[in-house]
Amino acid sequence: MRAATELLSLLQTAGGAPLWRADELPAEDAGGPTLASGFAELDRELPGGGWPLGQLIELLTDDAGIGELSLLAPSLAQLAQSRRSAVWVLPVDAARATPRSLEAQAVPYAPALATAGLDLARTIFVKPATPRESLWAVEQSLRARHLGAVVGWLPHASGEGDFRALRRLHLLAQSHQALAFVLRSTREAQAPSPAMLRLQLASAGAQLQVTLLKRRGRPLLDPITLQLRPAHWEQARVEADTALPRTMPAATALLGAPRPLDELLA
């Protein structure tokens, strides 16, 4: 160990020779371009300082609605700034599946997306009917050359055939500089994946807890906690009862009691 430390200091004083230590994240230019995620705590831990472009990024969560869209929104807004288009492949329309989860029915809400800075005129939404259509739509989107981002829900993916499907997506993603997010179930956390970056999302109280299951370079053991919502929401409390007048204000209260017409004309 001492010898190693001495060797290190010797190499550093000698200068010139670039030295990469195994506990450092790879240099920024090593893994291709990245796009800042918009969350400083996350960027610090992502190789290259942001979401890698042209690589498949896997987000694993079972609990739809815990903040996965808020996590993606800043980077998607950045792409919208540079006028690049995006495709969202929404969760499979599980009309036949029972019970229908609320999250599967929910649709992205245009006013909120626009407020977050997304360019709706350059975004296509796809509502596939089967898991195969989901994969197909993501694949087709990744084939488009100038596409900025693909966000695809593939919760049904599982098994050996899936690895091949994901691998194909990964290879397609590599051919363009697009952001390629796929959202999958945490059941896949232990399964091998071709994605170079895998994140597991869970809630930690009011915040979002992100575990980096896989990244280039040294693994990160501790999860990161991200503040996705406005900070003042954290402590804010309101009481429903004080806020709610039980009766509607009557029109007469606002306008005054009706008066006879001749009185008005007089």
């Binding site: 903040g67 006028r83 929910a106 006013p111 296509i124 009011a206 406005p230 929401w233 309101v238």
Partner: protein, 488 residues
């Protein structure tokens, strides 16, 4: 200098049948009165089985039991030649229809295509894509080109021409017989005869024809005029019951369409494919119509084929198909997309790539599954957005003013009533109200047809599982609580 290319399609009836299938089935074209049907053409597979032209149909069927015998149809041949002429119009504006082939004047357009060799290659590979083989020959006069093509001589000079048999002139049998009886065999032999004696004996028109073959007499040709709409049809020699099988003949049709559109410098936005079905099994079946609608005029056969392939995935054939036809009624001016010299521009996002992607998704999944979202200027949350078909033009819709209050990224299509415990809403456990209330109301004047009155107080709430919810309480009795969105 004028240069004429003669294309002669030998055994055109056989080629018409062969171009529709990918494999090697024994095929024969038959003709004749019902009792005396005889084979006039047969393909290599049939020949290998021992079938030969001239054979009776029954004999041919005995030799090759799988033989597909098709009757010759002159109308179909004429239609096919017209289709080829429409396709060839892209290479030359001087196209002449002949009973078994075409004449093209290529001398004036060869510079456009980068020279004689590239033009020739474009024509021959294009014909192969359509599924045709042609004997071709170039000459400075149209009549000479035809004679050379019949002789399978690509280019000949005057000396070679004189050595060719006079049978290639396609005169009537009686004249040929007389000439042969005189001991003449070649065109050169005819030229040795005294001109005035020849004209007296065989007619002045024969002498004129000889002069045209030599290229010393003017030979004006009736030019082909392309029709205003495109129609083409392929007879399928075998029954096709899978839509995937239709892709092969469809590619032929699309290649033909591309040539036609190139000749007219146009693109198509609506392609109507129709497949007629055999009636054998379950009586008459209405034809299957598959319409391919495009956002912008297009003519690239490969791209159209890819779109059609996705579209056909949604189609099932009620019965085996026996013909496939393609019709394009309206032609639109076509502006070819130039490949950029510069790196992809920012606005390429809305360029051809975007369109192609939208069309591909659209073709496979249908319009209700591929959409865009728009913000609508309405303060009722469920009416503040709408799904619209993917827009083509680059003009983004002017976004109305966005709400200043927080809005959830996911909205439920219909508010979900929340269960209650001690007058407190649950979802699924106890909620903490974070911000609010935001009162959203509409007056009677807002209520269109089918719209319900909205009198609500909205709150942002957090549950124990880390969800941030958008919930509201009805202001009207019974003051129910509802979940309306998720701050996902």
């Amino acid at each position: 200098m004028a240069l004429w290319l003669a294309l002669i399609l030998p055994a055109l009836p056989l080629q018409l049948a062969e171009r529709a299938i990918d494999g090697t089935l024994p095929l024969a074209i038959v003709e004749g009165a019902p009792q005396r049907v005889a084979v006039i053409h047969c393909n290599a597979t049939a020949q290998a089985a021992g079938v030969a032209p001239g054979m009776k149909l029954a004999a041919a069927q005995a030799l090759a039991c799988e033989l597909i015998a098709l009757e010759r149809s002159l109308e179909r041949e004429q239609a096919a030649l017209e289709e080829i002429a429409g396709w060839a119009y892209q290479f030359s504006s001087h196209v002449v229809l002949q009973p078994d082939g075409l004449l093209l004047e290529t001398g004036s357009s060869e510079r456009l295509f980068g020279g004689r060799t590239p033009l020739h290659r474009a024509i021959t590979t294009g014909l192969a894509e359509l599924g045709y083989r042609a004997a071709c020959a170039y000459a400075t006069a149209p009549r000479t080109a035809r004679v050379c093509a019949l002789a399978h001589a690509a280019r000949v000079d005057v000396d070679d021409l004189q050595r060719l048999p006079f049978a290639l002139l396609e005169w009537d049998a009686a004249t040929n017989e007389t000439l042969r009886a005189l001991g003449l065999t070649t065109i050169g032999d005819l030229l040795q005869l005294p001109r005035d004696a020849f004209a007296r004996r065989f007619g002045a028109e024969r002498l004129d024809d000889l002069d045209r073959v030599l290229g010393v007499r003017a030979d004006p040709q009736p030019l082909y005029v392309p029709p205003a709409r495109f129609t083409a049809r392929i007879e399928l020699p075998a029954d096709f019951s899978e839509t995937a099988q239709l892709m092969f003949p469809a590619r032929r049709l699309l290649a033909s369409l591309e040539g036609f559109l190139r000749g007219r410098n146009a693109g198509a936005t609506t392609l109507v494919f129709s497949a007629t079905h055999s009636e054998r099994r379950n009586g008459p079946v209405p034809p299957t119509i598959v319409t391919l609608a495009l956002a912008a005029p297009e003519r690239d056969a490969k791209r159209l084929a890819a779109l059609l392939n996705e579209r056909l995935a949604r189609v099932t054939l009620p019965a085996p198909a026996i013909t496939l036809a393609l019709a394009v009624d309206e032609l639109h001016p076509f502006a070819a997309c130039n490949a950029s010299l510069l790196p992809p521009a920012q606005d390429a996002a809305r360029g051809s790539d975007w369109l192609q992607l939208a069309e591909t998704l659209h073709a496979r999944l249908g319009s209700e599954r591929v959409f865009q979202l728009q913000v609508v200027d309405d303060h009722r949350p469920e009416r503040a957005w709408r799904a619209v078909p993917v827009s083509i033009d680059g003009d983004p819709v002017k976004t109305p003013a966005l709400p200043s209050q927080p809005r959830p990224l996911l909205l439920l299509p219909a508010p979900q009533p929340l269960s209650m415990k001690n007058d407190e809403p649950l979802c699924p456990d106890a909620l903490t109200l974070v911000t609010g209330p935001e009162r959203i109301e509409c007056g009677w004047w807002d209520m269109g047809i089918g719209a319900k009155a909205v009198h609500r107080d909205y709150f942002v709430a957090r549950n124990g599982r880390g969800h941030w919810l958008w919930i509201f309480r009805e202001l009207a009795a019974p003051h129910g609580w509802f979940l309306h969105g998720l701050f996902a």
